[in-house]
């Protein structure tokens, strides 16, 4: 279910690392919790994002949810497809619905993220709660 090559946050974002660039999206668990996604607001290339802080929002019919940055860095690209096809977040959260690519400024932040196994254990804990 959760790709082993990704790292995860407690706020249900994933990040895929490729050298110094990270690609970020939200997890399948997050899209299920949100329901039908109708709007995604992302930063522009050149914007700076800070680990743990909001970098955008994703909205379903029912709710508004913040996106939290897994790492700090400069935004290199935002997925413009999501502007007209926000429903991709529901249909392909770990693939086509990637949200931003970021040039990571502090690699030590990566150590604080969870592996797929750790994230799945975390979800079990959350559900039991």
């Amino acid at each position: 279910m959760y790709p082993p090559e990704f790292l995860y946050t407690k706020e249900h974002e994933w990040i895929r690392l490729d050298e110094s660039v990270g690609t970020i999206g939200i997890t399948d668990y997050a899209q299920k919790e949100l329901g039908d996604v109708v709007f995604v607001e992302l930063p522009k290339p050149g914007d700076h994002m800070t680990a743990g802080e909001s970098f955008g929002t994703v909205e379903s019919v029912k709710a508004v949810s913040e996106l939290y940055a897994p790492v700090s860095g400069e935004v290199k690209a935002a997925n413009s497809k999501l502007q007209n096809s926000p429903e991709l977040v529901n249909s392909d959260p770990h693939g086509e619905a990637w949200m931003v690519r970021v040039e990571i400024s502090d690699r030590s932040e990566i150590d604080k993220l969870m592996t797929a196994d750790q994230y799945e254990a975390y979800l079990q804990q959350e559900k039991a709660h």
Binding site: G35, D36, V38, F39, E41, T57, E59, S60, V61, K62, V64, Q83
Partner: protein, 369 residues
């Protein structure tokens, strides 16, 4: 689930059925209710194009009986109860002396000395206490909410589905009329009412039969496209239809005239709670009025977002949401009457930024005849 106050959430008789069908359950006004089953958009569209089945057993029922029943209801509600015939229902509001509503409600007349009110779940106990407090005439007032489950079958296919399982044939039941009927063999009260902007029915019946009635209707409606629908779709459907929701468009500081409910405010019937304030407002004009708006910018407006008119903050969005059938982002808010004209551009503050919106006429959606 546990309510914020710490006490256990109330459950309808269909709670286990909802859970086993995979519904997402939420705390709604102290009740554990299904917010969605297969997705709000899908459920919303099913009601607009086929049919949806809602568990609304959290709604309250209050009975008013006796020779003084009519006089008491004329005093505490704004609509003219004397105009009702047996088996007829009307939309109304339970009034406060300041011209605001303590709740909005449906008043059903069984007989000239027997009425049945359907009220909002969150307000049931408060409503009951208020009616009792106003009952100097000695009518017989009872909170009979625990005696009823309530389900709503809504959508253009609702009648075709119901005809398969209800007796007598519901085809000749007119809009806002009700009668005793059997649905899936269970006796109850069948009303042609609803809160979605579509044709549809609401059925009140003994809770013990809930799962049987629910499943029988779902099975009968499957070929017609019937699916269960949750409170999420109920909210977006009523918003598209421009219906107020208590606690949003209505509260104890908003008068009926401000809420565009002049059509249920019957000055001609004589005294009722709040009449004086409302009559003054009728003569002098309202200081604010409920408006509908649609977003011109892309982000949806949400409940509580500030409304900005000509650079000045002017109240808050009372209800705001993406509208799944209209495929627009819509909302309602209160604005000074001079700013309420159609086409007027206003702004909604969304996460610190101003987004453009336009005043449009209510309702946003009207079903095709």
């Amino acid at each position: 689930m546990v309510a914020p106050g710490g006490e256990a959430l109330k459950r309808t008789a269909l709670n286990a059925a909802h859970r086993s069908s995979g519904a997402k359950m939420v705390d709604y006004c102290g009740w554990e209710m299904p917010v969605e089953y297969s997705g709000i958009t899908r459920e919303h569209l099913a009601v607009r194009t086929a049919a949806g089945l809602f568990d609304v057993s959290h709604m309250g029922e209050i009975e008013v009986r006796g020779p003084q029943a009519l006089a008491l209801l004329q005093h505490v509600t704004c609509n003219d109860v004397a105009r009702l015939q047996d088996s007829q229902a009307q939309y109304s509001a339970l009034m406060l002396p300041n011209g605001s509503a303590i709740d909005d409600c449906l008043v059903h007349r069984f007989a000239s000395d027997h009425y049945f009110l359907c009220v909002n779940a969150a307000n049931t106990e408060k409503d009951y206490a208020w009616i009792v407090q106003c009952n100097s005439l000695g009518a017989d007032v009872n909170n009979i909410s625990a005696q009823y489950s309530q389900i709503a079958l809504q959508g253009p296919r609702a009648l075709a589905i119901l005809r398969k399982v209800a007796e007598p044939d519901p085809a000749d039941l007119k809009y806002y009329w009700f009668r005793k009927a059997r649905c899936a063999g269970v006796e109850g009260i069948l009303a042609r009412t609803g809160y979605t902007g579509e044709d549809g029915f609401e059925f009140y019946f003994p809770p013990a039969s809930s799962v049987h009635v629910w499943n029988t209707l779902l099975d009968a409606g499957k070929p017609e496209g019937l699916i269960p629908a949750g409170l999420g779709a109920r909210n977006t459907l009523r918003l598209e239809a421009g219906f107020p929701l208590y606690g949003h468009e209505l509260d104890v500081e908003i008068t009926l005239l401000e809420a565009n409910l002049g059509w249920i405010t019957k000055f001609g019937k004589g005294e009722f709670l709040g009449r004086q304030v409302l009559w003054q407002q009728h003569l002098a004009g309202v200081p604010k009025r409920l408006i509908g708006f649609e977003m011109l910018d892309r982000a949806p407006a949400r409940d509580g977002y500030p409304v900005v008119i000509d650079g000045k903050k002017s109240g808050k969005v009372t209800s705001g949401s993406p509208a799944p059938f209209l495929k627009k982002n819509i909302g309602m808010a209160y604005a000074p009457p001079e700013d309420a004209q159609m086409g007027r551009e206003i702004q909604i503050e969304i996460r610190g930024r101003l987004a453009s919106a336009r005043v449009v006429s209510l309702p946003f959606y009207k079903r095709p005849k």
